[in-house]
């Protein structure tokens, strides 16, 4: 197990090696238009221990809608793997994904939007 797989497994509780690259997650994902790489490709990079995966936008674009997770034939919670990739960055000292003070139209937004963003983008 390489270092990246170890971290992802520890945080997500998922065995990324059980992915056999069928691409079902990417086929169902509604956000692929915006992603640097597709979800199954990201998992392949994780399997190979390639830390450049942490610099892709894919995990940040993932909105945890769980379509991938309910369709994975291997029973992997793909959304949890994406969360683990976000968490690895978020837990880095000095890392800052967003500045919550810079949310547009903050007075208009329902507070659940802001709280959800805080949960996903900050530690």
């Amino acid at each position: 197990m390489n270092e990246l797989v170890e971290r992802v497994t520890e945080i997500s509780g998922q065995n990324v090696y059980s992915c056999y690259q069928c691409g079902n997650c990417s086929a169902g994902c509604m956000f692929t238009d915006e992603m640097d790489m597709l979800p199954h490709q990201v998992i392949a990079l994780v399997q190979g221990g390639d830390k450049s995966v942490l610099e892709l936008n894919t995990s940040w674009i993932c909105a945890s809608c769980f379509v991938c997770s309910i369709r994975c034939p291997r029973g992997l919670d793909v959304a949890a793997i994406m969360e683990a990739l976000r968490e690895i960055k978020i837990r880095e000292k000095g890392f800052r994904k967003v500045d919550l003070r810079k949310i547009k139209d903050v007075e208009k937004l329902p507070q659940i939007a802001i709280t959800a963003a805080a949960q996903k983008f900050t530690w």
């Binding site: 997500s12 945890s64 683990a84 968490e87 329902p110 959800a116 949960q119 996903k120």
Partner: protein
């Protein structure tokens, strides 16, 4: 029927019409909602990190209060109408039922309250309506919404991930069954289980626009009069999507409880303009 009720922040602050119409419907259907004392924010999106339970604490504090109130009134059922709150409460409760270590961990951490014993049953308002029976609801309809075409938008939180689904996650029917019971026609709506873009509205609203324009377009292609939503954030996002579309491409979005209230002859808290449009469509125009 007497149940514990978790309102959630959005119903109190952003969309009071969602809560008020829910109360109207409950009165008509003899459901007594007993609000959980001192409930707090559910957390909105539960942490998917197996090694971090801190983000569940908000939900668990509300469970502890619900557990005490439930003993007083003799129920363990907690109902929510906000689909995001439902999703979080349901999942956190499942985790605590399945993971003894996590339960002990949070009970040790929350040392100013009694321990939580995970016996609460978290349900969504749809579950209660199904339990009452759509045929019973139909009997109570005083304004059948005939000819009204509606798109039943589920979004993510009522259906995914596994363990929280209120119906078949790929081909749910409960929402359409409800709509049929009040006389309206659910349109063919393949985007009903798709995601609106969720919290991306905060920093990348163009992602929400990309998603919601497709969802609205799917509803529009069936000449839909209304999109019904069970979620405050989906509603906000769909309305945001509508704003980016030309007027004749938009489809109004309302909460499902508002339409149900209208059909049951109680106050719907719909905007007058939309209520008038509905009544006109069903041929029962009245002076409002």
């Amino acid at each position: 029927m007497r149940v514990l009720y978790y309102p959630g922040c959005s119903l109190r602050n952003s969309y009071p019409e969602f809560e008020k119409s829910t109360y109207e419907v409950c009165e008509k259907l003899n459901i007594e909602l007993v609000e959980i004392p001192d409930w707090n924010c559910c957390g909105v999106v539960p942490s998917l990190a197996a090694d971090n339970v801190m983000r569940h604490i908000g939900a668990i504090r509300s469970f502890i209060n619900a557990q005490q109130k439930g003993k007083e009134i003799g129920t363990n059922v907690v109902v929510t109408v906000c689909s995001m709150c439902y999703n979080v409460l349901k999942r956190v409760n499942l985790i605590l039922k399945e993971e003894a270590d996590t339960l002990k961990n949070v009970n040790d951490f929350i040392d100013d309250q009694p321990d939580y014993v995970p016996t609460l049953k978290i349900v969504h308002f749809f579950d209660l309506l199904r339990e009452i029976g759509f045929d019973k609801i139909k009997e109570k309809v005083s304004t059948p919404l005939e000819k009204l075409k509606v798109a039943t938008y589920y979004g993510c939180a009522l259906l995914r991930p596994e363990g929280v689904q209120i119906d078949d996650p790929e081909n749910p029917k409960v929402f359409q069954d409800l709509v049929i019971s009040v006389g309206a026609e659910p349109v063919n709506f393949p985007f009903k289980i798709e995601c609106c873009g969720n919290y991306h509205i905060t920093f990348e609203p163009e992602i929400v626009e990309m998603r919601t324009r497709k969802i609205i377009g799917s509803a529009r292609s069936e000449n839909t009069d209304l999109i019904l939503s069970p979620c405050p954030l989906c509603t906000y996002n769909l309305n945001h999507g509508n704003e980016t579309l030309k007027e004749d491409e938009r489809v109004p979005v309302v909460f499902f409880t508002q339409l149900l209230a209208l059909a049951l002859g109680v106050k719907s808290y719909l905007p007058a303009e939309i209520e008038n449009q509905i009544l006109k469509k069903i041929g029962e125009e009245k002076n409002v």
